[in-house]
Every structure is written in structure tokens, then in C-alpha cells.
């Protein structure tokens, strides 16, 4: 199977090189780096082509993509874009199969981590994007880099790009904060003081729903990020030599989280509350803060407008902001895509500042610089500010649950056990470490 693919790819590359040679000879001034075509010429060379995009994104993103697709196809009438929209679960469970088909969609979204992208890279299903990265000057996140045929993560060849930024943080109820006479917390201690004030006033301090189990990683990580070294977290996720979970900092974070639970900060009965239900309760005004990702910005901004806000969890004294996040689920070009140059030109448009402004106008958070529309709500402005802040201090660390194949659910389960007092903080770090090396 692997051999076949290599043969296929070699043939395609040969054909490409040959046709490129002819093109270079005939068209003067062609933008060219390595052996790929870029820009308008790349799209024109594709002839009549249907570019299929296999993707899972929220409604506001898809609406922005509609606008961006229209710009692309208007400029390049020979291209038709057909988007295949999937639910997240469906995308993740089917990406492998879809990419193995002979007529796979040219652009397929994956997800960070060894369970998804790692498998795709190992099976040679993705086109390495190094040549395009260089030609177009893309910024590629470490989470989309792989080497040694998928064995090493976090460095090496670029395999995907994502136009969206994401971070875990705290939404807050601006009115409730004012009513409690509080400012937006600027340090970790001020945040805990705000929790206390909300609790004393009879509000839920930290709206949090965990029946899906994965939000548990966020509540641990927002504490851990303020205590552990960010490079240690990155080394852990990317599986660098000597990386371990069993550290004094992670133990301290587990103790702080347990203390939060004992103090009654998270929504009572959080393990029996869905994360969407917790969000609905926050929007209804029952909680001061709500723990979630920037990916629900559209829903919260739509429902709360200027009454809501967002902040990256503030650091302890003497430290800088660190938050879990980074770029979102990367978009890949299929290894057997017949027109990779055209697909890359499309990705370049999605990554552009022009597209960024369209995403921003749809209550979204693009990775590129974007001009916010004048009527952007306070939530969106806060999120944009949090992103700028996090980028300026190199403060995003990758999600830990995707560190090792099969690790996520054990990590989530251990956090639930820690929070429920079923295991001690010491047992927690040992248990997670066991799941990590297992």
C-alpha cells in the first residue's frame, strides 16, 4: 500500500515537473518556488476543476467561507468549490477513510494530535506543504508539523494550515461583575477573589459543564497553565524526550483545582451538566464566569452582545499569560489531489488578511490580522484583544489530551476522579503519567 502510493506520487511529481518545465519556458515572470505553481497561474493551469472541501466548522465560519468562496470562484471561473460539511465526530471518524479513496476531496480538515493528523501523516495521505509554505510565506503552527513519517510531532514538515485562532478562556457577565463592584481580574489571585465574591453573592462563580468529559481538561489546564512552565507543557504534548506529567507543578495545579471544587466554584453537579447547558445557564445570568473556548464566541456574542466579555485566564504575579489553544483544526491537501497548486491557492486566500476581515465580520477569530467591524460586540473585541495579548507573549500551549494516541479519555476520566475526590492529587499525576507512557 505504502509502496503503491509512493509510486503514484512519484509519477505525479514527475508529470508536474515536466509540465512545470514547459510552463516556465513559456510564461515569463511566473511566481515559482521549489517546484510548485502559485497564484493565479496555478489556478488557471488547473483548467475546469471542482475543488472539494471536506470540513467541520461552526455556522458563522461557514457563512464567512461562503463569502470567501464566492471571491475565489469569481476570480477563477474555471474552479467550482463544493463544500462537504460534517459534524465534528463524523469528520474525525471518517477523515482516514475519505482520504484513502482514489477520488478524495482535495482539501480535508483533520485535527491536531496523534489520533487524527498523526495517523494521516503516517499513512502518507497528506501532501507535505513545505514548498507552498515557502512560496506563499505562510505561518505554520508547530501543531501542524511532523517529521520522521509521523513519528515526531511539533517540528519538521508542514502538513496543514488553519485560518482560525482558538483559545480556552473565561467568558464573563459584564453586568454581574459591575453589580459585584469588581473589575475584570488582572491576576490569578484577583480571579479567585472574584470567584469568592460571586459565591458570597449567591451566584455560580465558574459556569462549567462536564458531562461530555472533555471540558475537564480545560478546567485543569487553566490552572496548570498559570503554575507549570509553558515549554514543559509543549514538550509533554509533542512527546519530547524526558517529558513527564509527574512534576511538582502539575501536582500543585491538581491541588489548586481540588481546592476550587471544595470551595464550590464550579457549577454544582458539573459532571451531570452538559457544556451547552452550562453555557445556556451562563447566558441566562446564573454564573459570573463561564469556562469555554473562543469557538463558541458566535453563540455568546449573539446572545449577550455588549453584556458579555472574555478574558484569557490572568497569570500569577511575575508571570505572563498562558492559555491552551493555538490554531484550530488544520486544513490539509490530500496526497492524491490532482490539482494541489489550485488547492494551495485557495488555502492562501483563506489565510489572507482579506479573508480574516470577513471572518471577523462574522463574529469569528481569524489567526491573521483582521480589522474588526465598527459594530463588533464587546465579546468579540475582548477575544481579539486576548488573542493579540497571547500571541505577543508567546502564550499559547497545545491541548494536552491529544498528546498520545488513546490518552485523551484516560486524562478526562482522571480529572473527573480528581475533582470528585476519588483519587488524591498525587494519585492523579501518577495516573496521568501512566496513561501517557502506556
Amino acid at each position: 500500500m505504502t509502496k503503491n502510493w509512493t509510486a503514484c506520487r512519484t509519477t505525479r511529481m514527475l508529470a508536474l515537473t515536466v509540465s512545470l518545465g514547459a510552463l516556465v519556458a513559456s510564461i515569463p515572470g511566473l511566481a515559482l518556488a521549489a517546484d510548485v505553481l502559485t497564484g493565479d497561474a496555478a489556478v488557471a493551469a488547473a483548467g475546469d476543476f471542482t475543488l472539494r472541501v471536506y470540513i467541520n466548522e461552526s455556522d458563522n465560519r461557514l457563512a464567512a467561507l461562503d463569502e470567501i468562496d464566492a471571491i475565489f470562484t469569481e476570480k477563477h471561473p474555471n474552479i467550482e468549490i463544493e463544500r462537504i460539511e460534517k459534524s465534528y465526530e463524523e469528520l474525525i471518524t471518517s477523515a482516514r477513510l475519505v482520504l484513502s479513496e482514489p477520488d478524495a476531496p482535495c482539501i480535508v480538515q483533520g485535527d491536531q494530535g496523534r489520533d487524527t493528523d498523526g495517523v494521516l501523516v503516517k499513512a502518507n495521505l497528506l501532501l507535505p506543504l513545505g514548498a507552498y509554505e515557502e512560496a506563499y510565506g505562510w505561518t505554520v503552527d508547530a501543531t501542524a508539523r511532523w517529521s520522521d513519517g509521523g513519528a515526531v510531532w511539533g517540528k519538521g514538515e508542514a502538513y496543514g494550515v488553519a485560518p482560525w485562532y482558538q483559545a480556552v478562556g473565561l467568558y464573563y457577565n459584564r453586568d454581574m461583575l459591575a453589580e459585584l463592584g469588581l473589575e475584570v481580574p488582572k491576576t490569578f489571585d484577583e480571579l479567585v477573589a472574584a470567584f469568592e465574591a460571586a459565591k458570597a453573592a449567591g451566584h455560580v462563580p465558574l459556569g462549567f459543564g462536564n458531562s461530555e468529559k472533555y471540558p475537564g481538561s480545560f478546567i485543569y489546564e487553566i490552572v496548570q497553565n498559570q503554575i507549570a512552565d509553558k515549554d514543559a507543557i509543549r514538550a509533554f504534548v509533542f512527546g519530547q524526550d524526558g517529558a513527564t506529567f509527574d512534576t511538582p507543578e502539575n501536582l500543585e495545579a491538581a491541588k489548586v483545582l481540588k481546592a476550587w471544587v471544595d470551595a464550590g466554584y464550579p457549577t454544582p453537579g458539573y459532571d451531570g451538566v452538559g457544556t451547552d447547558d452550562a453555557m445556556a445557564q451562563f447566558i441566562d445570568g446564573n454564573a459570573l464566569f463561564h469556562l469555554n473556548g473562543t469557538w463558541v464566541s458566535g453563540q455568546i456574542a449573539g446572545a449577550m452582545g455588549d453584556h458579555g466579555g472574555f478574558l484569557a485566564v490572568p497569570p500569577k504575579d511575575g508571570r505572563t499569560h498562558v492559555s491552551t489553544g493555538g490554531v484550530s483544526k488544520p486544513l490539509h491537501i490530500a496526497a492524491n489531489c490532482p490539482q494541489p497548486d489550485a488547492a494551495a491557492a485557495y488555502l492562501d486566500l483563506i489565510l489572507s488578511d482579506q479573508a480574516a476581515s470577513i471572518f471577523a465580520a462574522n463574529d469569528d477569530l481569524p489567526a491573521a490580522e483582521a480589522d474588526l467591524p465598527d459594530d463588533a460586540s464587546a465579546v468579540i473585541r475582548d477575544i481579539q484583544a486576548a488573542k493579540d495579548l497571547l500571541i505577543s507573549v508567546d502564550g499559547t500551549v497545545p491541548f494536552e489530551d491529544v498528546a498520545v494516541s488513546g490518552f485523551g479519555d484516560k486524562f478526562f476520566a482522571a480529572i473527573q476522579e480528581l475533582m470528585a475526590g476519588r483519587i488524591t492529587p498525587e494519585e492523579f499525576t501518577a495516573k496521568v503519567q501512566t496513561a501517557y507512557v502506556d
Binding site: M1, V119, D271, A413, Q416
Partner: protein, 302 residues
């Protein structure tokens, strides 16, 4: 009940028409059930991420099920669900049958329809509705408060001690409608003269239920027990919607692990081994229950 082998041979043409009618079903069954089943068993001896190379590992995937505490425990959770399903769904269906089969036909039909409703609601809807009912501020806790049992309030699905039992009860609630219909259909077959005789002899509703209804429904009950066991061992949808196996690993079941290993963790071999194990357990249970039933039939004829 005579088996096919004991049936007197028909005329020669019967064999041909038999294969014409059964052929398509056998073909489809073979293509969509038997082939994937055999393929699953085959895959269970390999380590495979779903797209790359397959590495033969012998029985390692099966040994992993026993070595890995979480996987082994998931079978234990299935056993708990089995007990709840048997008592809850089969027991409840029997009791309801006993109650409404004594009613006038019109009323019986009304209750029958009403009580059958859970069966026709899609599992995801059942799961989400019950998640709300069992939520910390949900209907159940509210009701407990109103009747003065506020001290019993808990986070039913978020509590390590109650989550599995709560899931079992919801599952039983979803299942009993089907069994009730089977039982009510079975009751129609019991001769009314038996009930009449019992009443003339002065039997009350309870005695009548145990002496006439339950023995008369033996076949349906055995069938219901089989279905309940299969449902318990292969349950997935409700648990996926309601707890994802949490809190901790307190409600993981084998089918949930099959899904995770095959589609999330890219460990197709382990998933296939788990799936094969589930199938073997179901087969064993059905065989056992079938033996009991055969024994019953023999003694009934004797």
C-alpha cells in the same frame, strides 16, 4: 415445537421454491452480516490504525482486554446493566401486562399506546431528555424537593455511585414498551376460560398473575430476557449521549470502547477484538437461554 428437521418432507418442488424465497435474504445477510463479522474476527488478530500496514499480533488484542483494567471493568458495567434491564424492563413489562390485561379492551389499548411511547422515541432524544430530568436542577431533584425528600437530591449522572444505575433505569424504561407489547400479544393467546376458572375459584389479581399469566407467557418472557441481555451487552447510544462513560470510567461499556478504539484512537485491532468478545458473549447467552427454553418445551410436552 418441532424443529425443521423433524417436519415431514414435502413434495419435491418445495425445496426449490424454498431457496427462491430464502435466497435473497441469505445473500444479503451473508454480504452485510457474515462477511463483516468474519472480517472483524480476522482484524482482531492484527495491530492496525485503519489505513497503514497491518501487523499480525496473535492473541495480543484479546490479552489486552484482560490486562487493561478499564476494558475489563467495562464488561462488569455491562453485567450491572443486564441485571437492571432484566428486573426493570422485563419485570415492569410483566407487571403492567398483568394490570392492563384485566381492563376493558378500550382502556387497555389506550394504556398500551401510552406506555409504548418510550420505545418509538429515538435514543438520542431519550438520552438528552433524561439528561435534563436527571440534571442537578432537573425535574427529578425538583420533584424530590416538593415531596419533602430533598435530602435524596443528587447529581444522578455526575455521581460515581449513581450514574450507572441511572443509565440502567433509563435503558430499561426505553426497552419495556417492546416487551409489554410482546406480553400483551401473548396474553391474548391464553384461553379466557383459564382466567374465568381462576376467578370462579376465587383467585385475586395477584394469584391470577402468578398462576396463569406468567406461566402462559413463558416463551415471550424467555425471548424478552434474551433481548434484554443483548441490549445490555451492546448498549452504546444512551451512554454516549448521557455520560460518555463518565464520571471517571464508572459507566464505560464495551461498545463505547469499541467506538473509541476504532474511530478515535485508530486502534482497529483492539476494537475488533472487543467486538468479537461482545459477539461471543451474546452468542453464549443466547445459546444458554435457548437451552433453557428447549428444556421447558420438552417438559411442557411431557
Amino acid at each position: 415445537m418441532p424443529t425443521i428437521a423433524q417436519r415431514p418432507r414435502g413434495q419435491d418442488g418445495e425445496g426449490l421454491s424454498f431457496s427462491v424465497f430464502v435466497g435473497p435474504a441469505i445473500l444479503l445477510y451473508g454480504l452485510f452480516v457474515m462477511v463483516p463479522l468474519v472480517h472483524t474476527v480476522y482484524l482482531s488478530f492484527f495491530q492496525w490504525d485503519g489505513v497503514g500496514d497491518q501487523v499480525a499480533v496473535g492473541f495480543d488484542n484479546y490479552l489486552e482486554i484482560f490486562r487493561n483494567g478499564d476494558l475489563a471493568r467495562s464488561f462488569l458495567h455491562s453485567a450491572v446493566l443486564m441485571v437492571i434491564y432484566l428486573i426493570g424492563s422485563v419485570g415492569l413489562a410483566l407487571v403492567i401486562t398483568g394490570m392492563i390485561s384485566r381492563n376493558a379492551i378500550g382502556a387497555a389499548r389506550f394504556y398500551q399506546t401510552l406506555l409504548f411511547l418510550p420505545q418509538v422515541i429515538p435514543s438520542v432524544v431519550v438520552g438528552i431528555s433524561w439528561r435534563w430530568i436527571l440534571a442537578p436542577e432537573g425535574l427529578l431533584n425538583g420533584a424530590l424537593e416538593i415531596v419533602g425528600l430533598g435530602h435524596l437530591r443528587r447529581v444522578w449522572l455526575g455521581d460515581f455511585d449513581t450514574a450507572l444505575i441511572a443509565l440502567g433505569i433509563v435503558g430499561a424504561w426505553q426497552l419495556y414498551g417492546l416487551f409489554m407489547l410482546m406480553f400483551i400479544a401473548g396474553v391474548q393467546r391464553i384461553s379466557p376460560t383459564l382466567y374465568e376458572a381462576a376467578r370462579l375459584d376465587g383467585a385475586g389479581p395477584v394469584l391470577e398473575f402468578f398462576v396463569i399469566t406468567v406461566p402462559g407467557l413463558r416463551r415471550e418472557i424467555v425471548m424478552a430476557i434474551m433481548l434484554a441481555i443483548i441490549a445490555a451487552v451492546s448498549s452504546f447510544d444512551l451512554i454516549y449521549v448521557m455520560t460518555r462513560g463518565g464520571p471517571g470510567t464508572s459507566t464505560t461499556v464495551p461498545a463505547l470502547e469499541v467506538y473509541r478504539h476504532a474511530f478515535v484512537y485508530a486502534e482497529v485491532g483492539t476494537a475488533a477484538a472487543l467486538g468479537t468478545t461482545i459477539a461471543l458473549i451474546v452468542l453464549a447467552v443466547v445459546w444458554l437461554v435457548g437451552r433453557i427454553r428447549a428444556g421447558d418445551d420438552r417438559s411442557a410436552r411431557a
